[in-house]
């Protein structure tokens, strides 16, 4: 059954069209991560589902109901804002109970449900505190508990981890995944962090310029990017994209300056060794146990990931090679994936 569906949804801010015809289906109980760069329309999409922005065309369905024209409170969705939107004058308990109280669920019944939600989100020991007394991670848990308490048809999470430091983000990411596994609610999680998307999502939708560029499992997004834009956006460092008749290419592909094909290869699929295309090391970046080696190969510049212990030095002459199966080929004009 469909949890949330968008059918040809368009939305604009003034003259600027932000969503240009979004078609998306989130299955009931699924965790879909919407990934995209800043300005791609991912937050607008979430706000359209919540009813905080109007659509100029298309339909929005939540749990099978057409809610396109329904006001936010009648869509039965919960939203966790990037800023968490906790009421500073209320205690954690009162914050969690807010949605219940405005629906006339008060007293002991509301308190019990709030405590249960707080326990599920891991903030049961914070109920008497105010948001000003909480850390970023604790606020995030409270916002999650508030979303959980009402048992909505869908959870909408707008970059909920972006305000956390790196360590806490990793920890909270894991907890979020576990929480979704326990609760099993339809969830749409918006982020610009590709690692977060690939780790969390049952499926990932990549948005670009107001359109869904690709939707698939994290594995599909990683190993079979549908377009050049997805290939470049997902992966760190970004996929190397080679053009023209450079020497670094799959054996099956003949070289021609007018070749209408873009050749993509990830940094960890390239190998520095005794065979391959000759190149010169221009720059070496040390990133923990790895090193990113920038190599000039003919007309192209590629990034190769190697173990930090075996990294070359700038100016060294090296040879770069890759297995044929690791190449991704894209149409030079449309950017659409050709074959692997």
């Amino acid at each position: 059954m469909t949890g949330v569906a968008l059918e040809g949804v368009r939305a604009s801010y003034g003259d600027r069209e932000v969503l240009r015809g979004i078609d998306l289906e989130v299955l009931e109980g699924e965790l879909l991560v919407v990934l995209g760069p800043s300005g791609s329309g991912k937050t607008t999409m979430l706000r359209v589902i919540a009813g905080l922005e109007p659509v100029t065309a298309g339909r929005v369905r939540v749990a099978g109901r057409d809610v396109t024209r329904a006001r936010p409170g009648r869509r039965n969705v919960s939203m966790v804002f990037q800023s968490y939107a906790l009421f500073p004058h209320l205690t954690v308990l009162a914050n969690i109970c807010f949605g219940l109280e405005v629906r006339n669920v008060r007293g002991e019944a509301g308190r019990l449900r709030a405590t249960e939600a707080a326990r599920a989100a891991g903030c049961a020991d914070l109920l008497d505190r105010r948001p000003g007394e909480l850390s970023g991670g604790e606020r995030q848990r409270v916002a999650l508990a508030r979303a959980l308490v009402r048992q909505p048809d869908a959870f909408l999470l707008d970059e909920p981890l972006s305000n956390l430091d790196a360590e806490l983000r990793v920890q909270t990411r894991t907890e979020l995944k576990a929480l979704h596994a326990r609760v099993g609610a339809t969830t749409i999680h918006v982020t610009h962090d590709q690692t977060e998307a690939l780790v969390l999502g049952d499926r990932v939708a990549v948005l670009r310029d107001g359109l869904v560029e690709q939707i698939g499992t994290p594995d599909e997004i990683w190993s079979e990017p549908a377009t050049l834009a997805v290939a470049r956006f997902v992966g760190s460092p970004a996929m190397n994209v080679l053009t023209g008749d450079g020497p670094l290419r799959p054996r099956s592909l003949s070289g021609s300056p007018d070749d209408p094909v873009r050749r993509g290869i990830r940094a960890d699929a390239l190998v520095l060794g005794p065979v391959g295309a000759p190149g010169a090391v221009e720059q070496v970046e040390l990133v923990g146990a790895d090193a990113y080696v920038h190599v000039r190969v003919g007309p192209d510049r590629v990034v190769v990931r190697v173990p930090a212990s075996g990294r070359p030095r700038p100016g060294d002459q090296v040879r770069v090679s890759a297995a044929d199966g690791d190449w991704h080929l894209f149409d030079a004009g449309s950017g659409v994936r050709l074959r692997r």
Binding site: A50, G51, L52, R71, P72, G73, R74, R75, V77, S78, M79, F81, S83, A85, F87, P88, H89, L90, F98, G99, E101, V102, R103, R150
Partner: protein
């Protein structure tokens, strides 16, 4: 340690103009005035010790008592009304909308009118014979009576009507409170209201549970400020009701302009007159 000392010097240097102004222009005159209140002083000869005599005179003075009551009634009625009106208008006009800038300016304008002009304007407005207020009230009525057949208020001659008139004229000079509340409302995070909308909170819920509690610190500050200003009310009643119900609308802070206290010392009744 050295940085701390430098910070202290810097803070002291920045605070100095304010502190000097406060001491020279406020604290010293206030102290001097309090001291003079215990003396008999006619501005020409030297002050002579009078003990609590001036205060005893004040307590016995029925004009002072009336004026004190007027001020208390005015503060009790006008202050909450002014604050409610400012809050209501701020909440009404905080969003972007057609002509909202014009509406905000309209709310602000009366506050910018000089007090004498404002007082004289209302003197004309409340004139029982040709003033527009009573003309409006008698529209549709016969023989100078209202539609309900009642005599319209004699704003500037009847003491109770005059008190009401002063409260009414004060309700239009809420520009400062309006501006402060408008700014405070606009500073409240939009996400809180969006969350309330997603949670299906009604307008009343949002006002009661979100807006009002979050504006409370500002409202308390304005309440304190407006109460103080109400108790210092002076020129508008003086100019708009110069003969209103023989001294009945006079607040205790305007005796210097009156013959009522001409024979007594200014210092006894006016600790620090300030315009309203």
């Amino acid at each position: 340690m050295r940085d701390d000392r430098r910070d202290t010097v810097q803070i002291a240097a920045m605070a100095a103009p304010f502190v000097v102004g406060l001491v020279v222009l406020v604290l010293l005159p206030a102290g001097f005035t309090v001291a003079l209140a215990f003396t008999s002083y006619d501005l020409v000869s030297s002050p002579a010790w009078a003990g609590l005599g001036n205060f005893a005179d004040l307590v016995d003075d029925d004009i002072f008592r009336t004026a004190l009551l007027n001020s208390a009634v005015f503060a009790a009625i006008a202050t909450p009304l002014r604050l409610l009106l400012a809050l209501g208008l701020a909440l009404l006009l905080h969003r972007r909308a057609t002509a909202v800038g014009f509406a905000r300016t309209t709310v602000m304008l009366p506050t910018a009118v000089p007090e004498i002009a404002y007082g004289l304007l209302w003197l004309w407005m409340f004139n029982p014979i040709y003033g527009p207020v009573n003309r409006l009230l008698t529209t549709g009525g016969e023989a100078g009576l209202t539609v309900l057949g009642r005599t319209p208020p004699q704003w500037l001659t009847d003491p109770d009507s005059a008190r009401a008139a002063i409260i009414i004229l004060s309700l239009f000079t809420i520009g400062e409170a309006f501006f402060v509340l408008l700014t405070a409302r606009q500073a409240l995070p939009r996400e809180l209201y969006e969350l309330a909308a997603v949670e299906d909170a009604t307008g009343w819920d949002v006002f009661r549970r979100v807006t009002l509690p979050m504006l409370t610190p500002v409202l308390l500050l304005l309440l304190l400020r407006d109460t103080i200003l109400s108790l210092q009310l002076n020129s508008c009643p003086h100019w708009s009701s110069p003969t209103a119900g023989p001294r009945r609308t006079r607040p205790p802070t305007c005796p210097c302009s009156s013959t009522a206290t001409a024979s007594s010392t200014c210092a006894t009744a006016t600790p620090r007159p300030r315009p309203w």
